[in-house]
Every structure is written in structure tokens, then in C-alpha cells.
Symmetry: C2
Subunit: 295 residues, 2 copies
């Protein structure tokens, strides 16, 4: 069992940290401008004064924070992890952040004598609670093997994609594919509905052929049953597609479908839907068609 520093106790981080404690690991944390959640404190988690203080105690440090600047602040900022880093400490960033800055962060941690992995997840709150996250990892093979027993406590499909940044690249690719497959499902079912067909039967028939996808199955059903409680929130998918489109600009890459899907998410947000499940993308198309699926 390891002494693990876990920074970032939000919707995802809380259950993930809970699994690690349940597995017998000793956890310390730093809570920015707040106090430690009672439930986690009762399970034995200890809050320290700074990420630096966390680094001085932990063998493994996991970060699970909202965005690129948050990771940079916790790891590289004043009183940050890098100031207290012991030789050989393994830093695992499980946040979903930009791939290119990730490579720079990895270099800073490695140069300071630590090891670094980017290990973003997919599977949402449900995946975190059920320890069934998909984890996409970038970094050296040896660090991956060292992290594996810890990652296996939180996730199911855990893949080493490549070197530093490759985990974040894979996560962005995942969010691109998911967004466009949601739009695929939305346009297909909306067409069928407005043309007068029974969308439930259309969905079933399509699941039997080349159009099959997990999204057509799960999100297609949400579109038909009108259940748009998250799930995965549109505002978070907007953040991820923003990463995709910013990275694409840096990479000289044109992603017309991704840009299109992002505009539809923005159309949802403009109609009060930033906290709908991302299957709610269909509602932007429904607005344009003046028609709701199944009506």
C-alpha cells in the first residue's frame, strides 16, 4: 500500500479517492480555499497546507482538477507539488487537459526528478462511482507498470497509448468521436421522426447493422425517452471540444464536424441546456426543425 497525495475532490475525484482508501492506501490532500469533505476525513484522509506539503509526504500524487491552468497551478505554481517533490515520486494527472501543455508539464516534473503520467478518464460520474473508468495513459512503460495497481482500483479498461501527452490526445479523440456520434444519432432519428416513422423501431433496426454504436444504443434511447439529466454535461463536453479545436489550430488541422457539433452544444447552452446530458445536442437540431423526436 502507498501513501498517495490526491488533489481535486470534485464529482469525479471524491469516489475515486474513496476507492483508493477502501483498497488500503493512505491518502493526503490539499483543499484550495476550503475544508475537507467530512465523509473523506472520517475515512482517514488528511488535508495539508499546500500541494508542496502533499508532495513532501506522498510517494504517488494524483491530480483530478478541472482544466490546464489548474493542473499547472497545483503542480508547478507557488507552493506547488514541484517544490516539495521527492526523487522518484510518481505524478499521475487524471484531469482532462490540453495535450501539448501536458508534454511541457511532464518535462518539468521529470527534470525535477519525478515520474509523470497523463491518465485522463472517460466514463463520467457513474464510471467513477463504480470503479469502471476507461483510463488512457501517456508516459514511459515503467511508470505505467508502477501506476497500474493504483489505476486498477479506479478503472477497468486501462491502456498505455504512448509517450507523455498520448493519454490526453486519446481522450480528446474520444470526445471528438463521441460528440459526432451523438450528432449522427440525433440527425438520423430526427429525420426518421419528422418523416413520420416510429423512431424506436428505427433505432432497433439500425442497431442490427453498420449504424450500430454504443451512442445509438444509450443516447438514442435518451433522445427517444426525453431523459436529459446528466450523465455527462454539455458544458463539460464543450470544454473538451474547445480543447480539440484549440489543439487542432495549433496542429494545422481542420475538424469541420467537431466545430459543427460544438456550435450545436452552444445552441443548447444558449437555451439553458449547459447542464443537460450531452444527448441533449438533439434539442438544438429540434429547435431548428420545429419538431421534437416522437411528437
Amino acid at each position: 500500500m502507498s501513501k498517495i497525495g490526491f488533489i481535486g475532490l470534485g464529482i469525479m475525484g471524491r469516489p475515486m479517492a474513496g476507492h483508493l482508501m477502501a483498497a488500503g492506501h493512505e491518502l493526503v490532500t490539499y483543499v484550495k480555499g476550503g475544508s475537507l469533505n467530512n465523509e473523506l476525513a472520517e475515512k482517514g484522509m488528511v488535508a495539508l497546507d499546500s500541494p508542496k506539503a502533499v508532495a513532501e509526504q506522498a510517494e504517488i500524487i494524483i491530480t483530478m482538477v478541472p482544466d490546464t491552468p489548474d493542473v499547472e497551478e497545483v503542480l508547478l505554481g507557488e507552493q506547488g507539488v514541484i517544490e516539495g517533490l521527492k526523487p522518484g515520486t510518481l505524478v499521475i494527472d487524471m484531469s482532462s487537459i490540453a495535450p501539448i501543455p501536458t508534454q511541457a508539464i511532464a518535462k518539468r516534473i521529470t527534470d525535477a526528478g519525478g515520474e509523470f503520467l497523463d491518465a485522463p478518464v472517460s466514463g463520467g460520474e457513474g464510471g467513477a462511482i463504480n470503479a469502471a473508468l476507461t483510463i488512457m495513459v501517456g508516459g514511459p512503460e515503467a511508470s505505467f507498470q508502477r501506476a497500474l495497481p493504483v489505476l486498477e482500483v479506479m478503472g477497468k479498461t486501462i491502456t498505455l497509448i504512448g509517450d507523455h501527452g498520448a493519454g490526453q490526445i486519446c481522450k480528446v479523440a474520444n470526445q471528438i468521436v463521441v460528440a459526432l456520434t451523438i450528432q449522427a444519432t440525433a440527425e438520423g432519428l430526427l429525420f426518421a421522426s419528422k418523416a413520420g416513422a416510429d423512431v424506436s423501431k428505427v433505432r432497433e433496426a439500425l442497431l442490427g447493422g453498420l449504424a450500430q454504436s454504443k451512442i445509438l444504443d444509450v443516447h438514442g434511447e435518451r433522445m427517444i425517452n426525453r431523459t436529459f439529466d446528466p450523465g455527462f454535461r454539455i458544458r463539460l463536453h464543450q470544454k473538451d471540444l474547445n480543447l480539440a479545436l484549440e489543439s487542432a489550430r495549433t496542429l494545422d488541422l481542420s475538424l469541420p464536424g467537431t466545430a459543427n457539433a460544438q456550435q450545436l452544444f452552444q445552441g443548447c447552452a444558449a437555451n439553458g441546456g449547459a447542464d443537460w446530458d450531452h444527448a441533449g445536442l438533439v434539442r438544438a437540431l429540434e429547435e431548428l426543425a420545429n419538431h421534437e423526436i416522437g411528437s
Copy 2:
């Protein structure tokens, strides 16, 4: 066993008709401006002078022709099926044509004393050869039950979607979903490749989560292995998306993703790719990015 009129002996129609003869049905046909394929003649198929002559002999008539005007000509034109139609003859149009004209064709056949089903297929040449087509049917339940033993000789997943036209609506929805899922796969893998990740590993990781689709599996592999022999030709998918976009205009429906995918197929066609497999959509994006997946 029935006497079946089968009109339209192209890439799809030939193996489909072959399966029907192998199952013991007696087949007659009309070949427009040509002569009957030797192989089919040797198996016992007889060519008659007109669709009208076919109708005078057959209990069931199947059409498998390229587009809406072709179906209209064969069924409703001069010397067409409708002129020779016997009371109670079942007409099954297995072509992929426009849903709204299909309803008008169904009315003409029904008013003339026949029964009508629209029963377009997906699964391509491979599905036709292996008798594994997905068949999406529109029309009355009783006609569907009557057709089922014949359809089961050619296909596997056979679904009654709804009334006349619903089969064609479902087929169009299928082609919308397939095209956009191809674009989803293309943008995700191209992003990963241009950002420097191993696309094979990205594809594998994504297949384990919410991004999973049959297209990511099959067409994703084609994009990585650079195998763009059809399969399903871009020119045929262009025809289907044209149907989708024309119908959408009639229906007051906005399909921004479908329009986008169609433009990318046109970009492929402009570069000599009309006969590439539809996974070749990725090449239009690769042109824009000046980067080929895996390079």
C-alpha cells in the same frame, strides 16, 4: 414456392435473385435494353419483353433498381408492371429511393389491386452475396408476413418499421448515421495521428468505451490500413445523402452534419475518389490537414 418477377439484376440484384432460385422459386425478369446474364439463364431464369409481361406471370414482383425514376418507370411507366398487375400481386421495392415518392407509388399499386412493400436493404454487395442483408420494411403487417419467407432467403435482420415509406425513411436514417459516424471516426483518428499518437492503440482504447461503434471498428481499421477498395462506394453514399438532404428540404428539417459529410464526399469525388469505399471520407480531411493517418 412462388413465381417471382425480379427486375434489376445489378451488383446487388444478381446474388439476391440467385438465392431465390437456389431456394426453389421460379424467376422471370425483364432486362432493359440488354440480354440476360448467362449464369442466371443457366439457372433457369427467363427474360420477358416488358415489366408488364413480368407482372402478367408473377405472384410476387421484386424491384432492385438504382433510383426513384427507375422504380417509377418499371412499375408505373408504359408497358410497366401496373399495366399487367393481377389482383393481389405483391410488389416489393428493395431499391433505395426517396421516401415521399414511395408513398405515392404504393398508393398507385394498391389502387390497382396489388399489395406494396418498400424494403430497402443495407449490408452492401457482401451482404447480398452472403444472404445477410439488413432489410427495413414499410407497409401493412399482412403483406409483411406474406413477404417474410421470401425476404428471409436474402437477409438476416428484417424489421417492419411502419406503413408505406417507413422502410425508405429508415434506410435514409441509416445512411445519415453511417456517414456521420464515418466522419466521427475520421476526425478522431486524424486528430490523434496528427498530434503524434499511435492510432491503432487509440482505436483499441476507444472501442472499449462510449466511442465504440461498428464503423470505428471496421472503417477505422480501413483508415489505418489504407484500404479503400469498396465495400460501399462513395458515389452511392452521395446518392443516399442527396435523398436525405432533398427529403429534409421537403420536410423543413435542418441536417447540418449530413450536409457537411456530403461536402466531404464531394471533395473525395473531386479527387478521383467516387469509387473509393466510403471510409475514404477521411481522405478529404487529410487533404485539408496535409497529413495522412499513420504517417
